[in-house]
Symmetry: C2
Subunit: 267 residues, 2 copies
């Protein structure tokens, strides 16, 4: 492959707080549809699952911010993530001329996973993903056919069982796997302006984070907890061949697909 | 295209009574995975939607055997059909080595539809499909990439709204649209042995029906109501270029993909 320039690919994760927000979502999808070139989207959707679960009498059980996925809950999130949320996003993208195709990790066997072993906590039907198991060529076949994959945060165990998987992790795993075929920019879109020095002040965005800066931020203990998994996933991606990672507000980060003037750039 | 022989494609509809039946479903999926060559599957799933709808306080409203699809109900069937039922089928097919990809009609804009106009009955968010609007080349791209599309019975209006569409109709429309690219056999799998002279006696299968025989059966008034839409769809498909239509039991009709010794063959 030496000498051939890889095509660009944006691997974009959007969180449940944007998906749930009727003010943010349409603008985000519009920005997405304006991207010149290849992209794939990975969406969350936790709050809608909790709301519908309550109506069905399925209680949300969380440990350390992670959902415990029992048999009832995997059916619930399969319905809500792969059905309701995924198809509403796809239908809305189609309406603005973007040829989306909604998938779970079971579809096309794109994201095989392993049920998380029980250690101190039994997370239930939760899947751990290895980037090297991802079927990147199936994703490329869809992109080459002019379709933009939109992934719900679900995988499967290869033995007939759907598994619940963190959307940030799916995004970084897809970014790493596709890094062999494309120059990948991984983008985490959420409701904050980027990685903040002060979680309550949107004017404290840290525009650039590399490994030494990250270590210093950790030592100073100034990063809010919710951002740590994103940063860990970001560095894992960078260290596995992903070109760059951008973290920021859904309104900003898709409008700067050549320069990182908004949000936090991870290198 | 003169002189080039078209590849074969099986367009297979399986009804909710098979999907819901834990004894029938595994054998059906196994037969499906043994098909040599291209196939696409279209599934129903009505009873599961009714059951989950009851828990959510959404009452099933039927007129002439058709579900009235109000705003709550389209969300319900999008969850259940495109989420739960579709992904469980896909995961089970993947487990037996069949590379399924689960879709709704919105995905890849494969099945655009029009919301049914209100006449005497307001069916709500129900979509009518024209075979000529179907994006057959997107289906071919998936098949060429080694993936077998599995469709839930949902379409979209192109303006962001999902629509509920009869699975038999989707199957015949897909069969017609794909008839330009493939030699298509359309197969309706259900829980009866075929079209029966006596609805209560499985030994009364009519093995072959052509238009004159159909007209005579109608005149004699011996066909049970549930089979009439299937036969109407079957003849519409035959008259629009589909090679043949086979109607029969899920256990039988996939095992006879070259001869129609089981079930009812429509010509």
């Amino acid at each position: 492959m030496t000498g051939t320039k890889k095509q660009s690919l944006y691997v974009i994760k959007v969180g449940g707080n944007v998906i749930d927000n009727e003010a943010l979502l349409p603008a985000f999808l519009k920005d997405l549809s304006n991207i010149q070139g290849n992209f794939i989207l990975i969406h969350g959707g936790g709050k809608i699952a909790t709301r519908i679960g309550e109506k069905l009498g399925i209680e949300a059980k969380m440990v350390d911010g992670r959902r415990i996925t029992d048999a009832q809950t995997i059916d619930l999130v399969t319905m809500v993530y792969a059905g309701l949320v995924n198809k509403q996003i796809v239908a809305k993208l189609q309406a603005i001329g973007c040829n989306a195709i909604g998938l779970s990790g079971a579809d096309g066997n794109i994201i095989p996973a392993t049920k998380r072993p029980v250690k101190t906590v039994d997370y239930g039907f939760v899947g751990d993903v290895k980037p090297e198991d991802i079927n990147a060529h199936a994703v490329k076949a869809l992109l080459d056919a002019g379709m933009n994959p939109v992934f719900s945060p679900l995988t499967h165990d290869g033995h007939g069982q759907m598994l619940n998987t963190n959307a940030d992790t799916i995004a970084s795993s897809l970014a790493i796997a596709l890094g062999e075929l494309y120059h990948v920019r991984l983008i985490y879109c959420f409701e904050k302006k980027g990685v903040l020095r002060d979680a309550n002040d949107d004017n404290t965005v840290i525009n650039l984070i590399d490994r030494p800066i990250y270590n210093q931020l950790l030592a100073d203990n100034i990063l809010f907890d919710g951002i740590l998994p994103k940063l860990e996933n970001a560095f894992a991606a960078i260290e596995s061949g992903v070109g760059e990672v951008l973290i920021g507000h859904a309104d900003d980060v898709l409008q700067n697909t050549t320069d990182a003037v908004a949000g936090t750039l991870i290198r």
